[in-house]
Symmetry: C2
Subunit: 235 residues, 2 copies
DNA sequence: TGTACATCAGTGAACGCGCGTTCACTGATGTAC
DNA sequence: TGTACATCAGTGAACGCGCGTTCACTGATGTAC
């Protein structure tokens, strides 16, 4: 019927091929080394041809960032799905391990999200923020379930009032059904894992601890133990 | 005597002026946006004139990185010096607060050290590594003193053997006179503060907790409390 | 089935730009006699 | 004090490069009659 079916399939494939080549290039040259002309060269195409697929370099970057956020969150959600629902400690462990594994497997995508911005590019918040929240929500969901089952220990009696108030606002706005302490705990977990993973990624941890994986496991286990007293350590 | 005294003073001043301009430019354009020609333009000088002072762009970057590591460590050491020696908790607090304060005041220098590498540039390890260790040593020093005074709680009974072994090697190599557990604690502290500060720097914490300073203070206090049971919370 | 036509992915040349680095030089400054 | 000379910070032109983006175009593909 539609006279456009001709290349509809290959169009999507080219979009993917462009992004895949962009990722390769960033892996080799750093996120700031991304260049349309270099992508075109690699694809045996002229540079203007790319404009059929992305209206500008910045739009391509935005697509890459969007994909990265989603792939990261997908990896975590997928890991969560492999563990029975009521094994909260194991679920947390699986999700945090997936966070790290994805970052190590896709270092440039991780840098794209959490590292220095690319010069001359500003990410549109309306695209990145909702995508960014997905990973956070996976963790909040597990903690909320654990709390509901009475498995969570929350010993934050004296949160700073300004922080508690703002966390509550976020909870209301996002419609999370959790107390402030759970939100605080999730945020703390986020800063902890970010520190562990991003230092490991830039090769700063390895010279000190040697076995970065064992170090990560030890720290994450200590974090889970402190939050889920009933957890039995060995998944 | 020496026929070279003529411009000796201004030579050092120009070195500093070039670095200062480079820092301004990186603050505006990101670390990857650094450019010799743009620096020359800002200084009302032609680009080749810069080659009297730095043999290449990469050497300028190395100088900037070296300075950043040292300024960071200096800020921490200086903060440590303002607190009486036997107030270990206050010293830790002062040093970690200085870590954060310096990062917030010099965000691009911080990115230069802990963020994405600049495309096409590789830092010479023999320059950066010793400079990088200085900040670490400030923290190790405080913990060692606290341990010696019996003020430190070390509840790491089961460190992963591979990690403990490697930490011991570093201790021996660097000549630190501390047990493995102290080294482990310092490393953990490092990953914690890195996570807190670098997420804050990229504006990822603020949308969640609102008052990033109160959040930082709360987390650091919990860390110090856990390590120094006798600390009385209010410096 | 055969021909005229529309679509549109990709081309090739060009734009104006900024970059790091080299080279032979200029001309003010300070030194030596 | 005056002149000849050496120093050397900075100049200006040029090199070869890569970049994002625009524009009029080509030519194979598929459609309509």
């Amino acid at each position: 019927m539609s006279p456009r079916t001709r290349n509809e399939v290959s169009y999507e494939a080219v979009l993917e091929a462009i992004k895949a080549t962009a990722r390769q290039q960033m892996a080799a040259e750093g996120t700031a080394g991304l260049s349309l002309r270099a992508i075109a060269r690699e694809l045996n195409i002229t540079a203007p041809a790319l404009y059929r697929y992305y209206p500008s370099r910045d739009d391509l970057i935005t697509a890459l960032i969007f994909d990265a956020y989603n792939a990261h969150a997908d990896a975590m959600a997928q890991a969560d799905g492999t563990v029975p629902q009521e094994y909260y400690g194991e679920r947390l462990w699986a999700v945090l391990a997936a966070y790290r594994a994805w970052a190590l497997q896709h270092p440039t995508d991780f840098q794209l999200i959490y590292g220095n911005p690319i010069p001359g590019y500003e990410a549109p918040v309306e695209v990145t923020l909702p995508a960014a929240r997905r990973a956070f929500e996976v963790v909040v969901g597990i903690l909320a379930a654990a709390l509901h089952a009475g498995a969570l220990r929350l010993d934050f009696d004296d949160l700073p009032p300004t922080v508690a108030e703002h966390l509550q606002q976020v909870i209301d706005y996002e419609g999370y059904a959790v107390p402030v302490q759970v939100m605080y705990l999730a945020t703390v977990g986020w800063t902890r894992i970010h520190g562990l993973v991003s230092l490991e990624l830039f090769n700063q941890t390895q010279p000190v601890v040697g076995d970065t994986e064992a170090f990560f496991r030890c720290e994450i286990e200590r974090f889970i133990e402190a939050s889920l007293p009933a957890w039995d350590h060995n998944p």
